[in-house]
């Protein structure tokens, strides 16, 4: 088992990809977290005062819990989760065995767009991180 060591180049590349795919499309916040609940990288608008540490811990726990629910109904895992709020909604997608992409977006962005962009982004991030495992 290895520790996750983030190099500057992988982080920069990932951040740029997230900015281009999601933030520029109007998404409020994107967090890349690991399953232990650590924030790998956070991209958000300057005005956002979100507590990313807590969010990452709870999101990882949330993923863990739904994975257990999945097992109860005979699935291995749910690869994406979506919670709808009145104004803001949150979308979770698994990237690989360790990484989860968390996207928070408002009414101005459609779920379809988020799903499409996240699916593309997941592949790019998976490739970028493949070099450091």
């Amino acid at each position: 088992m290895a520790d996750l060591i983030l190099t500057q180049s992988v982080l920069d590349k990932t951040k740029t990809e997230i900015e281009n795919a999601l933030i520029k499309a109007g998404v409020n916040t994107v967090l890349l977290i690991d399953e232990a609940g650590n924030v790998v990288t956070a991209c958000k608008h300057k005005t956002c005062t979100l507590d990313t540490t807590s969010l990452a811990a709870l999101a990882a726990a949330n993923f863990g819990v739904t994975a257990q629910i999945a097992k109860l109904i005979g699935e291995d895992d749910f690869s994406l989760l979506f919670h709808k709020g009145k104004k803001d909604s949150i979308h979770f997608a698994r990237i690989n065995n360790d990484l989860i992409l968390v996207t928070i977006f408002g009414e101005n962005v459609s779920l379809g767009l988020v799903r499409l962009r996240v699916a593309e982004l997941a592949k790019t991030i998976e490739k970028a991180f493949a070099q450091i495992y």
């Binding site: 232990a36 807590s54 360790d98």
Partner: protein
Amino acid sequence: MNMALINLSKKEIHCKIVYYGPGRCGKTTNLLYIYNAMNNQARSKMLTIETKGERTLFFDLLPLNLGKINGFNIRIQLYTVPGQIIYKATRKLVLKGVDGMVFVADSLKVRQGKNMESLQDLHDNLLDYNLNTEEIPIILQFNKRDLVPTPIPTLTKEELEIDLNSQLNTKVFEAAAIKGIGVFETLKEISKRTIQYVARKHLSTNH
């Protein structure tokens, strides 16, 4: 599965320390005492998911900044697990990516069996992640020592040692977490061991 997260771009190391132990042994009390005693710069918000009866349902989380080593900011996240035996699946989830552990034992005589059961549960859960207590730093805290002089039947230090430390063979701290006695001694030691463990693996090599 990853353990410590090392961010070379921000020069940060994130470690996860988990407080483990039977239900009602004082894991959350340890974290609360640390939270209240730390100044605002060092600590972040403490996150607690509790059930109605004061029991930890999922986990408590307390992020701390512990200063710098070799130019790296050390950030530690303290987690507790729900001690009640029925929450086994949750405990296992919280152990994911653990870098250091504190096993909090209850000094009450009636909890003797629960202590041993919980330690065995920890071993089993770690094994599922291919981990063991020989590799990951772990220390013991015998909590509620303030009850020893009272009429409530308690376990002696020797009894607790035989039950819990014959296999672990690790450092023991006596504590009364509710009064803060032994809390920081425990935290200091596990932080030191955890950071040494992570640093030994990485900071000496060139990345």
